[in-house]
């Protein structure tokens, strides 16, 4: 009886959420339509174009600033990693636990900075990365663009090498950890060398990552859909998050099925 009421409540809650979403969508559509009529959308479009053009014009200094920040932070975290690793060799139990946390914190923050830096570089380059733009450049403009490309490559290489160095430092501290960080099989090799507690930590973190993608991929898909309707942003902006959404959900279901199938066939 209780279960039936609970199930009913879930459907009612779902219907209410759908109605609210529909109403919000309607209001947003109306606002956008009003904006189109009064030329506000054109203003926003022009503003965005101005912003992108400004970023494109300042691409090299912006890349340099992002690169220097990423480099300083990454090297700082690398230093902390090495110091914590050296101290751990002689540490007693309680000090070891604190150092282990420091090691994890420095490593995770360094990885976040290296990924954020790498993505920032890609986004900056994307503002001028089109044949239409390159063809519009004159002699010195092309030289500047080549310089921007070289800066981009140099920083991407540095950030990737930092990640390899990070893995090597961890492998030096924990010799049991295996895997070649330059190999495509690295995640599998690394996981195989982890014990049960470390695997549990990886699985929990992976599930959190899965949940984040499953929350944001639909939101981004619908945002891209709405933006395409009013700003003609292109179909690719809708395809990308929806493919990520599909691939993530299919991979998850396939892995669950595979796991159960393997157990059944034993």
């Amino acid at each position: 009886m209780m279960n039936k009421t609970k199930k009913k409540n879930v459907y009612v809650k779902y219907a209410v959420i759908m109605c609210i979403s529909g109403a919000l969508g309607g209001i947003l559509g109306g606002v956008m339509e009003m904006g189109q009529v009064h030329g506000v959308l054109t203003g926003i479009q022009e503003g965005m174009q101005f912003f992108l053009n400004s970023v494109r014009n300042w691409m090299l200094p912006l890349m340099a600033i992002c690169g220097v920040i990423a480099l300083v932070l990454c090297e700082q975290y690398m230093g902390r990693l090495k110091r914590a690793g050296e101290a751990m060799e002689q540490a007693e139990d309680e000090a070891y636990e604190r150092l282990d946390y420091e090691l994890e914190a420095a490593g995770s923050r360094g990885m976040i900075v290296s990924f954020a830096g790498s993505i920032a570089m890609i986004l900056l380059l994307a503002t001028g990365y089109s044949t239409k733009y390159i063809e519009s450049l004159n002699g010195s403009g092309i030289m500047w663009f080549l310089l921007e490309i070289l800066t981009f490559i140099a920083l991407e290489v540095y950030l990737n090498v930092w990640q390899i160095r990070y893995v090597r430092v961890i492998q030096k501290i924990y010799p049991d950890k295996k895997g070649d960080p330059t190999s495509l099989k690295f995640p599998k090799q690394w996981l195989e060398s982890c014990d049960e507690a470390e695997k549990e930590c990886i699985y929990q973190a992976s599930y959190k990552g899965y949940q984040t993608v499953m929350k944001w991929a639909p939101i981004l898909t619908f945002v891209a859909l709405i933006l395409h309707m009013f700003f003609d942003t292109g179909i690719l902006a809708i395809v990308m998050p929806s493919v990520i959404w599909l691939v993530t959900s299919v991979t998850y279901c396939r892995a669950c099925l595979q796991n159960k199938g393997e157990k059944l066939s034993k």
Partner: protein
């Protein structure tokens, strides 16, 4: 915490550190540390391994206490 353990006491009795205990059990020093702090409940296999290393039964190391609000 429903699962309590006396791994630290048994390890001290053997006179070995966390790293040695980890080596004997085939896990990392961090895992031994997590178990001793009660932050990780080991698998049955690992619990049996640890009991064997300490030459006691699993119940001598690990004890399960039912929480009051457990149904």
């Amino acid at each position: 915490m429903p699962l309590e353990n006396r791994l630290k006491e048994h390890r001290a009795r053997l006179g070995i550190n966390q790293a040695d205990m980890g080596k004997r059990a085939g896990v990392s020093r961090q895992t031994i540390s997590l178990i001793e702090r009660g932050d990780y409940s080991p698998s049955v296999t690992l619990a049996l391994k640890l009991a064997k290393i300490c030459q006691v039964t699993v119940e001598d190391i690990f004890s399960y206490t039912e929480e009051e609000n457990d149904e």
